[in-house]
Structure formats: structure tokens, C-alpha cells
């Protein structure tokens, strides 16, 4: 926003005033519409400089009144402050103080003083141009200069100095709005003193053509022959247009360029200066000398440039006469252009010039981006629309010369087209280049910039494919309701399976992984399926061909509107190379962080001990008519790995010992005690004693362990022949029986936890099992929650597990996956299924 305010700053405003207050038959309607006072001027003596002056005074006093009425002249004071800031090179606060002090010294109100300041600034702007006349004619002040095209009017003002008369003539010339008159005035009043004999004012067409808008000093016939120069015909004037800089030619003959009056003054010097305002070239001022022209001093060059700017003000509103048979100059509204842009299927931007405080073209504002617009840097359309071109695309000023091309098109009106232009966009300070076909054209005061990025969609798709191939990424999607699984080709390759084979469901992932990675995979599935959060896991994929690859799987859940888990999708990446790098790095880090390493080693040792005694995936126990499955999940925090244990073993008497226990505490001590208890129980069980007796003995064992260890356990002896389980518990959760769709815990028989007292007795119970019955023993890591009782947690767990899975193994996996425990604890699970 701040930049658009700039265009309303005093200098620019005054500048517009100078160019607009030009009532006349050929003045564009825009002028009248924009500037109300100009219309009022018609009623006065429109051609009169006094009238113009009066109008200015009138306008300013009306502005003063309006501003007073509105905001106590705050706006004007702000304007004046702005001028002071620029003039004095001070800050706004200082300018405000300065204004107040000066007003006090002058004994006028600050508002009046502010108006004075603005007036001063406005006059200066006008003088800037007229100074050129004054300097140029200083030597010939005695000559008759009052015979301008508006001679009588000039005479009215003529009471004063030559400067005032010159200025009046200039005003008159401007007011005439007739380029021919301007040409006459320029030649007579400004150029003859410099030794020039003829002048031509060319208007540039939007297509690059040149039209002779006015001339003086050339014969009428010659001027008529040169009334129109088509595009692409190189003439002196055209050089001035394309080079966008003044062309100072010593002798026309040397250049070989054609131009108006070449036969008349073949060896004469020529000057062609682009006539532009605000970065836009409206035409060319061409001046002819009769003889070769020596290099001119800088002040003359400046004077000529000032004259060219004067011409530009006239040309700005120049409308070629219809009689010349040329198409009318079309000035489409920016809105029309935006509509046009929206109709294009290529990305298009509508640019409008952005002038700096001095009225020079500084940049282009991106007025509009169309619907097809895709930012090469990936920014949303709203961010790009409204920004300045160089702000949004700083690299446009770089090698691609895009900005320079836009500037040229805007200046000359010549369209610019280029194929396969290299565009560079900065994305987070990283230059990204794209090849694009570019088209730039000017329409009225706006520029349409179209680019077509080379086959964007196709290129992205192929890029993605290559990226997947290079990254060894395989994608998948799994519908949990229908069981439908989709794999991409890369994933089959990654798994080492033929494309025609059946994809592996996520739940069966562990079966294709190294047994030691089962825990990581279990955690991954639990996060993904139970917590319904994105999850990732690294594991060793064991392919059917015997090759082991390190693979990372990343997946996210997709919920339907009822918040049900609908689809899981994700990707596998082969990270084998990366893995070994990490291993090497880890080894280095280990050496550096020795102390920390020791702690980690301790935790790892505990885990290894656990694994050594209870492999996470144990060889199943072969008992006829009975499925036995066991699971051990260590705490996620390695330091919390502790004393959970299980056992399932066939005894010599044909009974199956089933046991789950938990030694209080964590770490290596708890794990050591666990080993003692587990081995003791195995040994004691061989005696053939019942579960209550076994626990009594085990209590003695625990009680005599050093360090006041306590433990809980549940112990059962299953008789395959009778399908009965005789069991006892020592402070442990009773087993759970799953029969048909029902699940519930067995009764809470009496039994003190192990080690608390020297001697304890344990109540026994017996349960008769039937075919398809499942019995579960577990440690509290599975269900422990602070906000509800164990029964509630258990009921929740058993009911949320989806319809009974076909195998006991899957059942246990699901229990681990969907467990709602909120404490990070070890978990042991032993299950048997009859039949």
C-alpha cells in the first residue's frame, strides 16, 4: 500500500497538474474527468496564462478550504512536511518542527505556510521545464519571442520579463494541445538559438510505428511524405525509440540512416531524443541542423531532453487524426485486460507501471494474476497479485532480462516474444530455474505478461517418478474396510516380489521383517491404527530371495467423516545405504559420549537379557489340541525396561506351565531378579506341585533376594487331556477368559504378592475350558491407566479389538496394538487357545 501512496506525493501530483490542465478540443476526456477544476477553466479565458494562474490559485484555495473543513488542513500540512523531508533531508518529526517554527517566524498559520510550501514546490516543477527555455534563449533575449502560436495571449502576460513571456508562450503551446503548434514554438523559441533549422515530433504507435505528429522547418511535401513510418523501418527517430536514449549524430550522411529532410540537409547533424514521461516513451523529438554538429555541452543536452519531455506531455494525449487512415489508438481499461488474462489458459500477469516519487518508472505492480497462474516459486496467487514485479521476482532483473524486456515493451509498445527463456525464481533464497515461453505486450497503460512453463504437469509427473525410483520409494494404500491393498510397482521391487503377487497387509508386516524388529513394527502399528497418528518405523525387511534390506515405512491414517479409520496410506523407502552410514556415525558418537553410552549400554544390556531369556518372537510351543502364543513388549524408554516375564513350557508330567510375572522396579536389578524367579519356577514346577504351592515356594525365593524385592505372578497348570486350567495368583491380575464374544477376568482368588512376607499361602482355582476358548495372562503394562479401573480398561481392550482374528498370534498382536495403556511399562502377554 505504501508504494501506491507515493504516486499521490506532491511532486507527482503537481506534475499531473501540469500535463492535465490543458483544455482544448483534442484533450482526452480522461483529463477532464480526473481534474475537476479543468472543466471550470473553460468558463474563464482558457488560453490565458492569467486565467491559468487564477485557476491554480483558485484550486489551491479551494483545496485549502476543503482540507480545513475536513481535517484542519492536516493533509496539506502532511504534504508540506513531505516536501520538507525531501528538501531538507530530515526526518518527519524534524520537518514538523521546522514547519511550525517557520510558520511562527512568518507570522502565518501553519496551514497557510504549508500551502506556501506546496505552491513553491509546484512552481519549481513547472520551472524545471521552462528553465530550459530560459537558458537557451538567454543569448537572444532581444529577439522577438512573443510571436508564439498563441501570440496575443502571450502578449497579455507580456508586461513582465522575457522569462515570463517565454513561460506564457510555453503555457500557451501546451494549452494548444496541438503538436504542430508545439513544433513551431519549439523551433522558433528554443531551437533556432541553438542553430537548428528543423524539428520533427514523432508519436510512437503501440506497434512500434512512428507517426509525424508535428514538424517545423521541413517542407510541407517532405513532412507529408514522412507522415508515417511503419514498424521495423530503421530511421533516426526509430534509433532514439529503440535505444531509449538520445542519439546525437554529427552528420546524417555518415550514418546512412533515412529520415525526414535528408535531401534538404544531407550532411547536417541530427538529434533524436525519446520523449517520455514516467518510464513510458510517447514519441521522439528529432532536431535537424544544416551542418555537421559538434558534440554539445551538457547543458544543451539537458535542455534538449527537457524539450523532449515537454513534447511528451503533448504526445501523451496525441490522437492521430482519423483522416490519416490509421486505426484509433486503443486504450483498453486495465479491467478489460484482466478479463482477457482470465480467459487465457497460460499463466498471465497484468502489470501497471509503478513510478517513484520523481515520476520515473521504478517497477511494475502486478495488478492481476489470472486463474491459470502458477507461481514458479509455489506461492499462492494472492501473495503475488498486488506485489511489485521486482519484489515478487527479484531475479527478473537478472540474466533473463525479463524486467528489462517488460520495461522496453512498456516504453516502446513493441511486443516481445521469446521461446525457452530461462526464468529464475528464488524459493527460500534458493534459485530455481524454469524454462518458459514468454510473451509481453502493452495494452493502453498496462502490460500483459504471459508465460508458459514447459510442460509443467508432465514434467512434474516424470520428476516424481524419477524421484521415487532414485529414492527407492514404494507407495501403498490399504483400505481397512474392504481389505483392498494397492501397491505401486516400485514397492513390489522393494519387497523383491513379482508384480503379480498379492501385496502384504500392514498387519502382516512383522512376518516379513527380522524377528528383532517386531517390537518396532508393533509400536508403529499401534501409533497408526490405534492412536490414528502418522507413524514411521525402520526395520529389516527380509525378502523372499534371502536379501535383507533396511527399510523405513512411513504411513498416515485417513479418517472418514464419522472419524472411523478408513484408509492407511504411506510409503516404504529403502534406506540400507543410509542405515550403514548411521551405524558408522553412531559408533563415532558412542566413543565421544562415553558416560552417556554406559547408561545406554546398561539399558541395552537389560533389554538383551530380556531378549535372551524371552525372545520377542518365540518358537511356538507344540502342544496337541492347543495353540500357545507369547508376546513381550519392552518399555519404550529403555531405562524403564524391567522385570516383566512370562513362561510357557511343557512339564514332564504332560501339563503345560503357563506363567506371567512382574518384578517391581526397572533396570538391570529387576531383570536379574526376573531371571532368578523364572528359572526357579521352572525348576519347582518339575516337582509336580500345584500352582498355589509353587507360588508359596516362589515367595520364599523372592523374600530371600537382597534388596527387599517384591514381585507379582500368576501361575497356571493346563491339563490338555481334561482341558482344565488350575491356577493361583500372587498379587497379580487374574487371567482373562475369552469365550465366544464375551471376555472377562477369572475370580480374584486370594494371594499376597511375592516377597512381602516370609511365609504366604495361595488360594487355587480351576477353570474348565472348551474348544475355541482363549485364555490370556498379562502384566499390567497392557491395561494400566490412571483414570479407570483395570476391569474397565480390560473390557475396553477386549471389545475394541475387532472381530476375533483367525489366529491366536494375530489376536495377541491386536491386543498390543490397541492397548489403551497410558503408562510406559513393559508388557508381557501369554495366550492359549483350545482346539
Amino acid at each position: 500500500m505504501s508504494t501506491s501512496e507515493e504516486s499521490r506525493e506532491p511532486a507527482a501530483g503537481a506534475h499531473r497538474e501540469a500535463s492535465v490542465s490543458r483544455p482544448g478540443p483534442s484533450a482526452p476526456p480522461r483529463s477532464c474527468a480526473v481534474d475537476g477544476p479543468a472543466a471550470d477553466l473553460r468558463g474563464m479565458t482558457p488560453m490565458s496564462p492569467v486565467g491559468r494562474l487564477a485557476a491554480t490559485v483558485d484550486r489551491l484555495s479551494r483545496e485549502v478550504r476543503a482540507a480545513q473543513a475536513e481535517a484542519e488542513g492536516r493533509a496539506l500540512i502532511e504534504l508540506a512536511k513531505g516536501i520538507l523531508v525531501a528538501r531538507l533531508g530530515c526526518g518527519p518529526a524534524q520537518a514538523a518542527r521546522q514547519l511550525a517554527e517557520l510558520a511562527e517566524q512568518s507570522q502565518v498559520t501553519p496551514l497557510e505556510f504549508a500551502v506556501d510550501v506546496i505552491n513553491q514546490a509546484a512552481r519549481d516543477r513547472v520551472s524545471e521545464v521552462t528553465d530550459a527555455f530560459l537558458a537557451a534563449t538567454a543569448a537572444v533575449r532581444n529577439a522577438d519571442t512573443a510571436d508564439g502560436p498563441d501570440g496575443p495571449d502571450g502578449g497579455e502576460a507580456g508586461a513582465g520579463s522575457a522569462a515570463v513571456r517565454l513561460r506564457a508562450a510555453e503555457s500557451g503551446a501546451l494549452a494548444a494541445g496541438d503538436t504542430q503548434s508545439v513544433a513551431d514554438a519549439l523551433l522558433e523559441q528554443a531551437l533556432r538559438p541553438l542553430g537548428a533549422v528543423a524539428v520533427a515530433i514523432w508519436a510512437a504507435g503501440y506497434d512500434g510505428s512512428l507517426t509525424l505528429a508535428g514538424s517545423a522547418g521541413f517542407s510541407t511535401a517532405e513532412a507529408s511524405r514522412w507522415r508515417y513510418v511503419p514498424p521495423d523501418v530503421t530511421t533516426v527517430a526509430r534509433c532514439g525509440l529503440t535505444e531509449r536514449a538520445g542519439q546525437w549524430i554529427t552528420s546524417l550522411a555518415e550514418t546512412g540512416l533515412p529520415s525526414v529532410g535528408r535531401h534538404q540537409y544531407p550532411d547536417g547533424g541530427r538529434v533524436a531524443v525519446p520523449a517520455g514521461t514516467g518510464g513510458r516513451i510517447h514519441g521522439v523529438l528529432e532536431i535537424a541542423w544544416p551542418a555537421p554538429l559538434a558534440p554539445q555541452p551538457p547543458q544543451v543536452v539537458r535542455q534538449v531532453e527537457a524539450l523532449a519531455e515537454l513534447c511528451a506531455h503533448t504526445l501523451e494525449s496525441y490522437v492521430p487524426s482519423q483522416a490519416a487512415g490509421q486505426e484509433p489508438r486503443v486504450v483498453p481499461d486495465a479491467v478489460e485486460l484482466m478479463d482477457l488474462a482470465d480467459g487465457l489458459y497460460d499463466p498471465a500477469l497484468v502489470l501497471v507501471p509503478h513510478l517513484d516519487a520523481d515520476g520515473h518508472l521504478a517497477d511494475f505492480r502486478i495488478q492481476h494474476v489470472n486463474k491459470s497462474f502458477l507461481d514458479p516459486a509455489g506461492r499462492p496467487r494472492a501473495v503475488v497479485g498486488g506485489a511489485l514485479l521486482l519484489e515478487a521476482y527479484p531475479m527478473a532483473a537478472g540474466e533473463s532480462e525479463l524486467f528489462q524486456n517488460v520495461e522496453r515493451v512498456y516504453a516502446t509498445g513493441e511486443p516481445f516474444r521469446a521461446r525457452r527463456l530461462n526464468l529464475t525464481a528464488l524459493v527460500d533464497q534458493v534459485p530455481l530455474s524454469a524454462v518458459a515461453d514468454i510473451s509481453v505486450s502493452r495494452h493502453g497503460n498496462a502490460v500483459l505478461l504471459i508465460w508458459r512453463i514447459e510442460d509443467e504437469t508432465a514434467r512434474l509427473a516424470s520428476l516424481l517418478q524419477h524421484a521415487q525410483r532414485l529414492g527407492r520409494i514404494g507407495g501403498f494404500e490399504e483400505n481397512l474396510l474392504t481389505g483392498e491393498i494397492t501397491w505401486n510397482g516400485q514397492l513390489f521391487d522393494l519387497y523383491g516380489r513379482p508384480q503379480s503377487s498379492t501385496p502384504v497387509p500392514l498387519e502382516r508386516l512383522a512376518a516379513h521383517a527380522h524377528p528383532d524388529d517386531a517390537v518396532a513394527i508393533g509400536r508403529f502399528l499401534r501409533t497408526l491404527l490405534h492412536h490414528r497418528r502418522s507413524a514411521s518405523a525402520a526395520f529389516r525387511l527380509q525378502r523372499p530371495d534371502g536379501v535383507t534390506r533396511h527399510v523405513r515405512v512411513v504411513a498416515e491414517p485417513v479418517l472418514d467423516t464419522d472419524d472411523r479409520l478408513l484408509v492407511v496410506r504411506g510409503a516404504y523407502q529403502d534406506i540400507s545405504a543410509q542405515h550403514w552410514t548411521e551405524v558408522a556415525l553412531a559408533a563415532t558418537r558412542d566413543q565421544l559420549a562415553h558416560t552417556e553410552q554406559q547408561a545406554i549400554e546398561r539399558a541395552r544390556l537389560t533389554l538383551q537379557l530380556q531378549h535372551a531369556i524371552m525372545p520377542p518372537a518365540q518358537t511356538p510351543l507344540k502342544v496337541p489340541d492347543l495353540q500357545v502364543a507369547v508376546r513381550y513388549r519392552p518399555a519404550e524408554t529403555e531405562q524403564l525396561v524391567g522385570g516383566d516375564w512370562y513362561d510357557a513350557v511343557m512339564l514332564p508330567n504332560g501339563l503345560v506351565l503357563l506363567c506371567v510375572g512382574d518384578v517391581a522396579g526397572h533396570g538391570i536389578e529387576a531383570a536379574t531378579s526376573m531371571v532368578v524367579l523364572r528359572n526357579a519356577l521352572r525348576g519347582l514346577a518339575v516337582t509336580g506341585a500345584g500352582p498355589g504351592q509353587l507360588l508359596s515356594w516362589l515367595n520364599i525365593v523372592v523374600h530371600h533376594l537382597t534388596g527387599g524385592v517384591t514381585a507379582t505372578a500368576v501361575c497356571g497348570l493346563y491339563d490338555p487331556a481334561r482341558r482344565t486350567l488350575r491356577w493361583a495368583r500372587a498379587g497379580h491380575l487374574p487371567p482373562v477368559l475369552v469365550r465366544d464374544a464375551q471376555a472377562g477376568p477369572l475370580p480374584l482368588v486370594k494371594g499376597m504378592l511375592l516377597g512381602a512376607v516370609a511365609e504366604a499361602s495361595y488360594e487355587e482355582a480351576e477353570v474348565q475350558l472348551a474348544a475355541e476358548d482363549t485364555l490370556l495372562m498379562y502384566t499390567d503394562g497392557l491395561i494400566e491407566r490412571r483414570d479407570r479401573s483395570v476391569e474397565e480398561s480390560l473390557a475396553q481392550l477386549l471389545s475394541t479389538a475387532r472381530p476375533a482374528p483367525s489366529t491366536l498370534d494375530q489376536h495377541l498382536d491386536r491386543l498390543l496394538t490397541y492397548s489403551r495403556s497410558d503408562t510406559d511399562d513393559d508388557t508381557c502377554l501369554v495366550g492359549i487357545r483350545v482346539g
Binding site: 517384591t710 507379582t712 499376597m752 504378592l753
Partner: protein, 130 residues
């Protein structure tokens, strides 16, 4: 739960010279058990033999809390002395039953009930005039 959110509060009063009443409020778990143990050790150090643990404001107790109770039970038994649990919440009561601790450590509904149990013990303190 982080300690900051659920700090354990232990309020100690002396019912009699050798009888300490500890009113516990908050979760008794792995995070807070050590603090609880310090209070108990301090009372043991000052010669208390009987410990009344009011757990009416303990919504949750895990095995760590349980072990502290068992430890003070074992210590007190040596003195000889005793440990009494007073009006536990349902969840805590459940844990006490599950672990069988309630078989060994008596559970009372009030301080008075616990005190009368202490009095009934043969090796209980001699109360003058009783």
C-alpha cells in the same frame, strides 16, 4: 502425570507419641513414591512405631506406592509396630486386594478404628489409664 501438575501432598500429625497419621493426597506412583518414602523414613527416624496412612485422597496408586507401604510394613514389624491403611479409594482398595497386601496390612474405615486395632495388639503401646 508430571509432578508439577499433581504434586503429592503429605500431611503428618501425631495422634499419640508413637503414632503418626500421614494424610496423603495425590497420585502415589513412580514419580511421587520417593517423596512419600522420605516422609515415612523421617517418622521412623523420630521413633514412631505405628503408621496410619490416610489414603482417602489418593485416586491412583501403582506398584511403586505399594512397595513403599510394604517396606514400611516390614520395618514396623521389626520394631515391633504396625501399619494401617485408612479409607482407601475404590481404585486403591482394588490394588490392595489384587496384590494381596490387604491380607497383611489391615484396612480401616477411620482413624478411630485403626487406633482401636493398635490398642488391641498385644505388643501395642501402653496407654496410661487404659
Amino acid at each position: 502425570m508430571p509432578i508439577a501438575q499433581n504434586p503429592l501432598s503429605v500431611e503428618v500429625t501425631l495422634e499419640r507419641e508413637e503414632v503418626a497419621l500421614l494424610k496423603v493426597a495425590g497420585y502415589l506412583d513412580v514419580d511421587t513414591a520417593t517423596e512419600f518414602q522420605h516422609h515415612l523414613a523421617n517418622q521412623l527416624h523420630h521413633g514412631r512405631r505405628h503408621f496410619l496412612l490416610d489414603l482417602s485422597e489418593v485416586p491412583f496408586m501403582d506398584s511403586s506406592g505399594m512397595n513403599i507401604i510394604l517396606r514400611v510394613y516390614q520395618e514396623a514389624r521389626e520394631l515391633p509396630g504396625s501399619v494401617h491403611i485408612i479409607s482407601p479409594t475404590a481404585a486403591v482398595r482394588r490394588v490392595l486386594d489384587l496384590t494381596g497386601v490387604s491380607i497383611t496390612v489391615p484396612v480401616s474405615e477411620s482413624v478411630e478404628e485403626a487406633l482401636s486395632r493398635i490398642d488391641a495388639q498385644p505388643e501395642g503401646p501402653q496407654v496410661p489409664g487404659a
